[in-house]
């Protein structure tokens, strides 16, 4: 009941000077609106850029690196073990580039709880031939559906689809640069020559564009089986395993143990892309710093307007106190006004922020580098709106608290007598 009365007084004060109320609320509106727009847009962009790396990069990349033997024969010979031995011109030993026992290893990893999925890969060095043109290139033989599921390959296939490749026995998804150089398009046949000189006719079922010219000029995707045939190898010939984990943070430790356990080279995503997190966190800091600055400015607006209001309302304060309202009641009246201004400004700011975000998310944004992005990326996250409300209420609370506290302390006698 008491609170209702105070709310009513606060309401009357606010409604009797709509211009001031609106000005103060608009300060908060701009602060919150800008915050929402900034943070949605910035995190949208961040997610996009992170996604470029995170989506495409396997969390752990396993392969068999051909290196010279650690131990040379001379090391095994006891007679010279105390001598200083120099071996010139060490070469890697003759061995295959494939992963030994790849299929059991694939099974083992697929059954691991921490692993979201494993995509096997066969890399084949080839020449693309169309008419008189020959291009140096690389075919990645993949399980295309798994590759799409784990590494969003489909996002970068600008013509055709992963399913088209899955359904065809001798199809190929060529890089956009290759297609352009060969003047080939969807449905055309190109010939691929393997290092051993065998020629395979393949049908273009898709065109792939990563945005990086040096990849698009060289790389193509084909089915695992097709690639194994090009290389003249069997089913168990697999050169790389790309592992995606449920939890990215486990990548470094797991990479280490896998490398040790299976005697393979394992590269984890953190060591492959150490710099990308730095950029993300700095962009976030800038976003929040700008938003907080805007809200502080809005807070000063509220502080000023309430201060003026209290000067104007000295008489009212004295009457309220004389007729039995306590200092706390009076403070409450002005706090309510501040909080109302904050809340109204905040809600309007959230709406404006949302509308502007929607507008931005429909603004065309086309770039060669990101074939799947047609409009600006915007992150619509409810959390930002919650943060916005909390921010606005905290700012207005502090902006209102000082003037309201002064109103509480005003001595009614001085005012009642003073006139």
């Amino acid at each position: 009941m008491n609170v209702l009365v105070l709310v009513n007084i606060a309401k009357t004060h606010l409604l009797s000077r709509p211009k001031q109320t609106i000005t103060a609320a608009l300060g908060v509106t701009f602060g919150i609106g800008t915050f929402i727009i900034l943070v949605s847009f910035m995190t949208g962009l961040n997610n996009l850029l992170d996604g470029l790396i995170l989506n495409r990069t396997p969390h752990i990349h396993l392969y068999n690196q051909i290196t010279p033997s650690e131990q040379q024969p001379v090391d095994l010979y006891d007679e010279v073990s105390n001598s200083f031995n120099v071996v010139h011109s060490i070469k890697p030993k003759l061995t295959q580039a494939r992963i030994y026992n790849a299929l059991p290893l694939l099974n083992f990893l697929a059954n691991d709880q921490r692993v979201k999925g494993v995509s096997p890969l066969v890399k084949a060095q080839v020449f693309y031939v169309a008419g008189s043109i020959q291009l140096n290139g690389l075919i990645n033989g993949v399980n295309i559906l798994e590759e799409d599921r784990l590494f969003n390959l489909g996002d970068y296939i600008v013509k055709g689809s992963p399913q088209d490749l899955f359904r065809s026995t001798n199809g190929i998804i060529v890089g956009a640069g290759i297609a352009k150089k060969l003047s080939a398009s969807l449905g055309d046949k190109i010939q691929v020559t393997s290092v051993t000189g065998d020629i395979f006719p393949l049908k273009i079922v898709g065109i792939y564009q990563s945005g990086l010219a040096e990849i698009d000029d060289i790389q193509s995707f084909a089915n695992l089986k097709t690639t194994q045939t090009i290389l003249n190898r069997g089913d168990n010939y697999i050169t790389d395993l790309n592992v995606k984990l449920n939890d990215l943070q486990l990548a470094p430790s797991m990479a280490k143990s896998l490398a040790h356990q299976f005697n393979l080279t394992a590269v984890d995503i953190n060591s492959a892309n150490a710099q990308f997190e730095t950029g993300t966190s700095i962009r976030n800091i800038i976003t929040y710093a700008v938003s907080v600055a805007l809200l502080i400015v809005a807070g000063f607006g509220i502080y000023n307007i309430l201060n003026m209001l209290i000067y104007e309302k000295m008489n009212d304060i004295a009457i309220l106190k004389a007729t039995g309202f306590s200092g706390n009641d009076v403070r409450m009246v002005f706090m309510l006004q501040a909080m109302f201004i904050g809340l109204a400004g905040c809600v309007l700011g959230l709406v404006i922020g949302y509308v502007m975000s929607v507008v931005i998310s429909h603004t065309p944004f086309e770039t060669q580098a990101l074939p799947t992005i047609k409009t600006f990326p915007v992150n619509f996250n409810g959390l930002f709106y919650a943060i916005g409300i909390v921010f606005a209420l905290i700012t207005t609370f502090f902006a209102g608290f000082m003037p309201a506290n002064r109103a509480q302390k005003i001595d009614p006698v001085e005012i009642l007598r003073g006139q």
Partner: protein
């Protein structure tokens, strides 16, 4: 049970700014139920200061203050606010209504704060008081849209809304023409008769004071005339 509504015992007060001045000097007096008391004195005699001390709004004094045998001295500001709300009605020289509220809302406000009745009952009461003061037709008007004499009557209605034990007035007619002043006096007179309301009025209007039951005359912070013991 005595019929003493308000009792001040040995009230003293000093102002320290700019120089120390003894405004109130060991003042004791009583106001009885249904009594119409006026305080007179020259400017600077301390009559307004005394009123604000006994009104509980000014708490910086020495001595003791009782309302209906309850000691008010030393109570917290919050408690004193409640005392003012429940037992004391105020009318000031300058009408002191909340300008953005309607006449009716101004009258209702102290009762809403008291919170003993529903808003409907309070509105009935408020309209009743406005009718009593001939202001019922102005109930819906904004408080800053009525004349000075009307404002003073609204202020009286507001002071009455919680059925106080005593009404305190600082120069209630000081800002009114003689016709309105006469009006206000008649209203006060009938209130003491009909409601057994005690009135403590600071005034320098001798005609007004002569009509009251008793005149407390003040000089240099002391009451020099007009005491009544029972």
């Amino acid at each position: 049970m005595s019929n003493i509504i308000l009792e001040a015992k040995h009230i003293s007060k000093q102002f320290h700014d700019p120089a120390t001045v003894q405004v109130l000097n060991d003042i004791s007096f009583k106001v009885f139920g249904g009594e119409f008391v006026s305080i007179m004195g020259r400017s600077g005699s301390g009559k307004s200061t005394l009123l604000y001390v006994v009104s509980t709004m000014d708490t910086r004094y020495e001595g003791q203050l009782f309302l209906k045998d309850e000691l008010l001295t030393g109570q917290s500001n919050r408690q004193l606010s409640d005392v003012r709300n429940k037992h004391i009605g105020f009318v000031f020289q300058f009408h002191f209504l909340l300008p953005e509220f309607t006449v009716l809302e101004n009258v209702m406000l102290p009762a809403k704060k008291l919170g003993k009745k529903t808003f409907e009952e309070i509105e009935d009461d408020a309209r009743g008081h406005l009718r009593l003061l001939g202001m019922e037709d102005k109930a819906a008007k904004k408080a800053n849209a009525i004349s000075g004499g009307e404002k003073q009557r609204v202020a009286i209605a507001r002071a009455l809304i919680n059925d106080p034990a005593i009404m305190m007035c600082d120069e209630p007619t000081g800002n009114l023409d003689s016709r309105n002043a006469h009006n206000v006096f008649d209203i006060f007179k009938s209130l003491t008769k009909e409601r057994n309301l005690s009135l403590l009025v600071v005034t320098h209007d001798l005609d007004f004071a002569k009509g009251t039951d008793r005149i407390l005359e003040m000089e240099d912070g002391k009451i020099i005339h007009g005491q009544r013991e029972n």
